[in-house]
Structure formats: structure tokens, C-alpha cells
């Protein structure tokens, strides 16, 4: 058995002390996504001891767990009751914790059809930079009391607060899943993905890799069968593994040494003319590019189609590839950071 424990007071004391001493803290889970966040300055604040499912009620479709709880433990508990996390979170390492997953806010292949990590967050308990324990949102489906601070924590990389507990809406596992494969080039695939997404089909993933379009259907037995009859294609064996490898970046595509870029763009954008290797996910809305092209060129081309590019993985890049923001947004980000962490204690990047 795991040793579940509530160490929120201890963590809050540590933050309060750091704030009083103007010291820096580096919030630490199991480090599975350190490749993305880069090195952090300051004394490590280990949150992995703050773990355990606080409550899980399948009939409410809500789970609440401490941030240090391994994601695998949460998914196993859900699977036992025929449920799942709707955003199909990438782990990027077996030891991934709930806190790290939410702080990074990454979502898997199901994202365009079911929603992103932030869409499933119902509430959060946090420690702000003053060491205060605060609760926002809750465990109910609809809640508009106060600003939506719990969603603000998703993808904030721990810079606005230490996540203590997160409440997530969960989904029933579909009765049937089926992946269909179609041979075609990227341009055709993008068109096809978007055409099908405009029709009432039980879609749950669409990606294009190695001249093949992969299309996942999720729903009832009969609904999936009817959709298959309509779409054609070849059923893919062992497709669960295929989607896991896409999600975890374990396909061959992700393996070579060139920097890996993530382009978030409007889904119907035709293939972009940049040298490198491409993999299209999220029905066209997320494109992965392995390329040695200069960052400025990639960013510019991406902005021209109304999207943004992030350097996701790179061997020689040490720190987080900060997103490029407009001056107005930068100033709002600074003010928000001050509002939550006035002494700038939490998760400062080094270098």
C-alpha cells in the first residue's frame, strides 16, 4: 500500500518561511516534465509526500486527489469503476504526479473532442506565495462564484501557487473504441480530419503520421459500427498502444536528435512549408515538427497562420522555451504573478 499523507501545513509553513526570508522555492514532483520546465532556482519543495485520493465518487463523476498522487494511481482507481480522465494526459515518465500534470496542463489525443486538462478542473486547493492555503472552485459541475482561479492554475507551471489538491471531472469509459487507418498525404489528411469533424460522428482522436491518417471512434457498440460503415478504412490492431505512443512521444518520429517543436494552429491550416519532419495530431490543431530551422523562422511562419510555436524538447536547450507574448500580455502576467506570489518565491527559472 502507498503511504498517503496530508502535509499541507508543512508545505504552507515552508512557503511562509521562504516568503519571510525572500528565499526561492522550486516545487518538485517526480521530475518527469523537467525536460520542458527547465531547471528551477531555489530550495526544492518536495510535494510528492502530499499524496492520496481524498475522495472519489463514481456517481458524481468527480475525483479529488492530493497533488503528489501518482497519475497512474488515479487512472487505475478510475479504470476500476469504468471511468477515465477525459483529457488523456501524457505522463512523460511513469512517476508523473497529478500536480505536475495539472501544472503543465498538457493534454493527449482526445483533447479536441473531449476537452483539455483545464476543461476538467472543477476546483483546486493551493498555497499562494504568502503561504496561505486557499480553496477555489469545488466539486460540483457548475460554479461561477468568484474568479476561476482553479483553471488559472492549469498550465501556470507552479508560478502562481503550490497545488495541494485538485478536483477533476471524470468521464465514463466509452463502451467501444476503434481506430481506422487510411493511407494519404498530410494535405489530404488535414482536409479529411476537418471534414469529418464537421459531421456528427463519435470521434475521439485524429492524427496523421507516416502517410497514414489514424482516426479513433469512441462510443456505443452500435454507434461505432455505424460510423465505421460510413467511413471505411482499415481497423488498426492494438490501437491503444498506438495512441499511447503518440501521447507519450514514444513513436520513432519523436526519437531523433533535432529539436521538437509544438505548433498550435487552426485545425484546417494546410501543411506549413518549413523544412523538417511533421506529425499532425488533434485533428490538425497540434502539429509536431522535428527541425533544425532557426526558432525565429518557425515562430514567424506559425504566427502567420494564426498560431504559436513552442520549443518542446531540445537536447541543447536547458530552460523552458518561454512563449512569446505581446507587451500588454506580459505586463498582465507580471501583475498576476505579483498578486499570487508577491515575494516571487515560487518556481523561478534559473538561467
Amino acid at each position: 500500500m502507498t503511504n498517503n499523507a496530508d502535509i499541507s501545513q508543512k508545505l504552507a509553513d515552508a512557503v511562509r518561511e521562504a516568503a519571510a526570508n525572500h528565499a526561492l522555492l522550486a516545487i518538485q514532483g517526480n521530475g518527469t516534465k523537467a525536460f520542458y520546465t527547465g531547471a528551477l532556482s531555489g530550495t526544492p519543495l518536495d510535494v510528492t509526500g502530499h499524496r492520496g485520493v481524498v475522495s472519489y465518487e463514481p456517481t458524481e463523476l468527480v475525483i479529488t486527489a492530493r497533488a503528489g498522487t501518482p497519475l497512474a494511481e488515479i487512472e487505475a482507481a478510475l479504470a476500476e469503476r469504468g471511468q477515465m480522465l477525459g483529457f488523456e494526459p501524457p505522463y512523460f515518465g511513469e512517476a508523473a504526479t497529478l500536480g505536475g500534470t495539472i501544472a503543465c496542463g498538457f493534454s493527449g489525443p482526445r483533447r479536441p473532442y473531449a476537452g483539455a486538462a483545464r476543461d476538467f478542473v472543477l476546483g483546486a486547493k493551493i498555497i499562494n506565495g504568502k503561504g496561505e492555503i486557499l480553496r477555489f472552485g469545488g466539486q460540483v459541475m457548475k460554479n461561477v462564484a468568484g474568479f476561476d482561479v482553479s483553471r488559472l492554475m492549469v498550465g501556470a507551471f507552479g508560478t502562481l501557487g503550490v497545488l495541494l489538491e485538485v478536483s477533476l471531472k471524470v468521464l465514463p469509459k466509452p463502451a467501444r473504441e476503434l481506430t481506422l487507418a487510411f493511407e494519404m498525404n498530410a494535405a489530404e489528411a488535414v482536409k479529411q480530419m476537418n471534414a469529418w469533424a464537421a459531421q456528427p460522428l463519435p470521434l475521439s482522436a485524429a492524427c496523421h503520421a507516416d502517410d497514414t491518417l489514424y482516426f479513433r471512434l469512441s462510443g456505443t457498440e452500435s454507434g461505432v459500427r455505424a460510423a465505421q460503415a460510413k467511413l471505411g478504412g482499415n481497423a488498426v490492431e492494438n490501437s491503444e498502444r498506438f495512441w499511447r505512443e503518440i501521447r507519450e512521444h514514444r513513436l520513432n518520429f519523436f526519437q531523433n536528435g533535432s529539436p521538437l517543436w509544438r505548433l498550435s494552429i487552426p485545425s484546417a491550416t494546410p501543411p506549413i512549408d518549413l523544412p523538417g519532419k511533421w506529425l499532425t495530431d488533434w485533428g490538425g490543431a497540434q502539429r509536431w515538427l522535428k527541425s533544425d530551422t532557426p526558432a525565429a523562422d518557425i515562430r514567424q511562419e506559425t504566427e502567420e497562420v494564426g498560431g504559436h510555436a513552442t520549443l518542446f524538447r531540445s537536447l541543447n536547450q536547458k530552460r523552458a522555451p518561454l512563449a512569446v507574448l505581446s507587451p500588454g500580455l506580459i505586463s498582465l502576467h507580471r501583475q498576476l504573478k505579483l498578486a499570487f506570489d508577491p515575494h516571487a518565491v515560487l518556481n523561478a527559472n534559473s538561467g
Binding site: 465518487e57 463514481p58 456517481t59 458524481e60 476537452g115 483545464r118 476543461d119 496561505e132 486557499l134 480553496r135 469545488g138 466539486q139 460540483v140 459541475m141 457548475k142 460554479n143 461561477v144 462564484a145 468568484g146 474568479f147 476561476d148 482561479v149 483553471r151 488559472l152 492549469v154 498550465g155 501556470a156 502562481l160 465514463p172 476537418n194 464537421a198 459531421q199 456528427p200 460522428l201 463519435p202 462510443g219 456505443t220 457498440e221 452500435s222 454507434g223 455505424a226 498550435s264 487552426p266 485545425s267 484546417a268 490543431a285 497540434q286 498560431g307 504559436h308 513552442t310 512563449a323 512569446v324 507574448l325 505581446s326 500588454g328 500580455l329 498582465l332 498576476l336 498578486a339 499570487f340
Partner: protein, 496 residues
């Protein structure tokens, strides 16, 4: 009645001078200062709270709106944004020393993008107009508040509005991809666009439901969904509200995500049978309406299973709609529930708490007991699938003491919602109405964090001051929605 918190005393600038300055860049009809012109703006859908605005401005372009804000910022004049004014918590209640910025001229649908399935809209576009514009493409905009023929998309974003179909398709926050908003000093900020995410903090989520306190939304990009191929609804009757409540939990737990799951108690059933000839079983203690949508195959399979689940939970009768006409007839009763109740009562309060679904039966029973204690009838018609209650407390404001009793009763209901792990507002917002109840739900530190967050966007506190988040000094009494004489301000609309 609770009123917005007074903003710190300051000397009011000369009204004529400010109006002159505004007319420098706004058309003559875009600056209103006379009482008769201001009167229509004195309240939103919560008509019990009224205040004549100091000045109303109706800009037509983002540039004009930005200049209004800059001017007000420089002169320390507070600003309240207003969409269609259908809000039910007094969020758009004007200030007698502030400018009311109406977005009613911003009604252009800027783009419908069929390939990316998005719509880009000015904030004054009506919710229903989006779906109407997208319909020829087989697409629609999912969030469907009952006020959708009148409410604006800007107001929907500001309140994070919901609707019957949000159970499956999400609230406003799940359906907005991009925003442009103006900060109090007039700066235009762009968030997201047609992409599924944008870099930096999730300000898109933060602006959604921010009740006009952080910025003025001037452009919105939403996602459009394919219209489901087929939909069918099941009507189930129960001989107790507890059983109906348990049935809700069972359906949700069974792995179905209905596209709508609504509940009505006997009081509401009788009212609509009389008013709208809904044909609901008159003796039932409660009914559930459960809609499934998807491909014809999925729905057919689901309906069989849902019927069994409901019977297994003690439903005394289960009917499935046989065709589209009957499906609409089943819904017609539900949609007429509020006017139907409004016809019986002189006045009613509508509460908006959300609770965990497993407590529905228990909370409805407790509300029934409170109803006896206070000597005031209650009708319940609500979004059961989301646990979002809308108890309507019937009373007569002309009877001495009834108003105060109804108010206290409403307060007890919201306290109950918080006590079982719920919230004081599911979709109508805090506004001025529930500002006191925020004190029950949040600690002083949490409220202070909200204030700090607001100050990050609006350091002078000029945007919609006194709404949504109480100052520490003000944690005392409770509020409510007041519907006088059974009449809402928008009687032609389906309620909630």
C-alpha cells in the same frame, strides 16, 4: 435589500464636461445624459435593484470603446459594461456616479469559418444568432441559456453562461477559443484565436465568468459543433423526489452523458400541465426528462438502457418520445415552467445553487421542510444532471413580512447548498445579488486573493466596482433574485 458596496468617496467630475469630452469621438446619439434616455438602463434582468446611470455611452467601434475607457481611467470615473441586460444577479446594475458602457451596437458576426468550425463575433451578437448563422453549415453553438434569443455572447462570456445542453457540451468556458478585451486604461489585449490553446497563463478561463470586473470584452471566437444526427427524450415519473434524485445519480453513474437531464417536482408539473397542457403525469411527485443525442444507432441503444435504469430506480412510468414533434412537446412543458409558476404566484425568488447530484433528494426534502417552516410554497425545476438547482420561492410582496421571509428562506437554501459541498451560484453569477453569500463560501484570505487578482487587471478598481467579490467589511446578510408580480423583464422568453 443589499446594495453594491460604496466606492471610496471622491469628487465627481462635472457631468456636462465629461459628456462633451465623450462627444468629441462618439456620435451624438452615442452619449446619453437625460433621465428619460437613461431610464431603460437602470436595471438588468434582476429588476428589484435599480439605479439611474450617470451617463450611458454606446460606442460602435473598438477604438471608440477604448477611448471611453481611457478617458474614464484618466478622470477616475467607474465603468459598468452592459450586454443585453438579461443578467439575473444585477451584474450590469449601473452606478449613479459612473459610466454605463453598452455594447449593444456591436452586433456584427465578423466571420463564420466553416473549415475550422469557428465563429468570430462582436460582443453584442445574440446567443441564438450564432447558431442561426451556423445552421446552413450543419453546425451550431452549443451553450444554450434559456435567454438565448436576447442575451449577448459578451454577457455569456462575462457570466460563463450555461444551458440545458451544457451537461454534455460544456459551459461557455469550454466553447470559447479566443477573446479580445480592453483593460480599464483602454489597451486592447488578444487571447487565443482559432487555436485550441494559447501561450502563457489561461487568461481565457479567467476572463470567462469575470462579471465585467477584469476587462471589457470586444470580440469573441467560439467553436461550432456539428448538429447531432438524432435526439430522443425519455420522460420518467416518480412517486417521491428522493427516488427521482437517486435516478439522476444512477443515470450519470451508468456511463451515459445525456445531452439534457432536467427535473421538475409536483408543484411545477401541475403548474405546467395547466399552463402549457404539457401532459405530464399530474400525480407524479417528480419527473425527469432525459435526452440522448448522437447517431441514430447510439440513441436507439441508449434509450433502451436508460428506460431500464429508470424503471430499476422505481419509476412508475417511462415514456420515450416517438418522433420529433413529441420530443419538442416533452420539452415544451419544461421550457414553460417558469411562466407557468409565475402565473400562480404574485412574486417569486429564483435561487441558483449547485450541489453534488447524490444530495438532490435530500436537499429537495430539506427545502420542502423549510417551505413549511416559512409558510411559503416552493416549485423546483432544474438542471438535475448538473446538480444545478433553481428553487422558486413563491410569495406575495404585498403581504407584510412575506418578502423578508422569502429572503431568509432563500438564504437558508443557499447555505444548505454550501453545507453539502456545493456552491451559491451555478450560472447566474454573484453580481450584487449574492455578494453577501460569497462570505459563506470563501474565507477572508480567499476573498483577498480575488481582490488582488482584480487589481492586477484594474489597479484603480474602476471596472464594475462593488460587484461579485465582497470587501472584508461586508460579510453579513444574504441576497436573492426578485421577480415582481410573476413577471420577469423578458416575459417572452423561456425561463432558465
Amino acid at each position: 435589500m443589499s446594495q453594491p458596496q460604496p466606492i471610496p468617496a471622491r469628487t465627481l467630475p462635472d457631468k456636462a464636461a465629461v459628456a462633451r469630452a465623450l462627444r468629441q469621438f462618439l456620435p451624438p446619439a452615442g452619449v446619453l445624459t437625460d433621465e428619460e434616455d437613461l431610464r431603460p438602463y437602470e436595471c438588468d434582468g434582476l429588476t428589484a435593484y435599480r439605479k439611474l446611470p450617470w451617463i450611458v455611452v454606446l460606442p460602435d467601434t473598438i477604438e471608440q470603446a477604448s477611448r471611453v475607457l481611457r478617458l474614464c481611467d484618466e478622470r477616475n470615473i467607474p465603468v459598468v459594461a452592459r450586454g443585453a441586460g438579461t443578467g439575473l444577479s444585477g451584474g450590469a446594475l449601473p452606478l449613479e456616479d459612473g459610466v454605463l458602457l453598452s455594447l449593444s451596437k456591436f452586433t456584427r458576426i465578423l466571420e463564420i469559418d466553416p473549415e475550422n468550425r469557428t465563429a468570430t463575433l462582436e460582443p453584442g451578437v445574440r446567443n441564438l444568432a450564432i447558431t442561426e448563422a451556423a445552421a446552413p453549415l450543419g453546425l451550431y453553438y452549443a451553450p444554450d441559456p434559456s435567454s438565448q434569443i436576447a442575451c449577448s455572447i459578451g454577457g455569456n462570456v462575462a457570466e460563463n453562461a450555461g444551458g440545458v445542453h451544457c451537461l454534455k457540451y460544456g459551459l461557455t468556458v469550454h466553447n470559447v477559443l479566443g477573446l479580445k478585451f480592453l483593460t480599464m486604461d483602454g489597451e486592447l489585449i488578444t487571447l487565443g484565436g482559432k487555436t485550441l490553446d494559447s501561450p502563457g497563463y489561461d487568461l481565457l478561463a479567467l476572463l470567462t465568468g469575470s462579471e465585467g470586473m477584469l476587462g471589457v470584452i470586444v470580440e469573441i471566437t467560439v467553436k461550432l459543433l456539428p448538429k447531432p444526427e438524432y435526439a430522443q427524450v425519455v420522460l420518467a415519473a416518480f412517486d417521491s423526489v428522493e427516488k427521482a434524485g437517486e435516478a439522476v445519480a444512477t443515470v450519470i453513474a451508468s456511463g451515459f452523458i445525456p445531452s439534457g437531464l432536467e427535473m421538475m417536482d409536483n408543484f411545477a408539473i401541475r403548474a405546467v400541465n395547466e399552463y402549457a397542457r404539457a401532459g405530464y403525469p399530474n400525480e407524479a411527485a417528480a419527473i425527469l426528462l432525459c435526452e440522448l443525442d448522437g447517431t441514430a444507432e447510439e440513441v436507439a441503444e441508449g434509450i433502451v438502457q436508460v428506460r431500464e435504469l429508470l424503471l430499476g430506480r422505481g419509476a412508475t412510468e417511462v415514456r420515450a418520445s416517438r418522433d420529433e414533434a413529441e420530443r419538442l412537446k416533452f420539452w415544451a412543458g419544461r421550457k414553460n415552467a417558469f411562466p407557468a409558476v409565475g402565473r400562480i404566484a404574485r412574486d417569486y425568488y429564483c435561487m441558483d445553487g449547485t450541489i453534488p447530484r447524490k444530495h438532490i433528494g435530500q436537499v429537495l426534502t430539506a427545502i420542502g421542510k423549510l417551505s413549511q417552516e416559512y409558510g411559503l410554497p416552493v416549485a423546483n425545476v432544474f438542471h438535475a444532471g448538473d446538480g444545478n438547482l433553481h428553487p422558486l420561492i413563491l410569495y406575495d410582496a404585498n403581504q407584510p413580512g412575506q418578502l423578508a421571509r422569502a429572503e431568509e428562506f432563500g438564504g437558508r437554501i443557499l447555505e444548505l447548498c454550501v453545507a453539502v459541498g456545493g456552491t451559491i451560484t451555478g450560472e447566474h453569477g454573484v453580481g450584487v445579488e449574492k455578494i453577501n453569500q460569497m462570505c459563506v463560501q470563501f474565507t477572508q484570505e480567499e476573498l483577498a486573493q480575488f481582490h488582488a487578482l482584480k487589481a492586477a487587471f484594474d489597479p484603480k478598481g474602476l471596472l464594475n466596482p462593488g460587484k461579485a467579490v465582497p470587501k472584508p467589511a461586508r460579510c453579513a446578510e444574504f441576497g436573492r433574485m426578485h421577480v415582481h408580480g410573476g413577471k420577469l423583464k423578458f416575459p417572452e422568453m423561456e425561463r432558465f
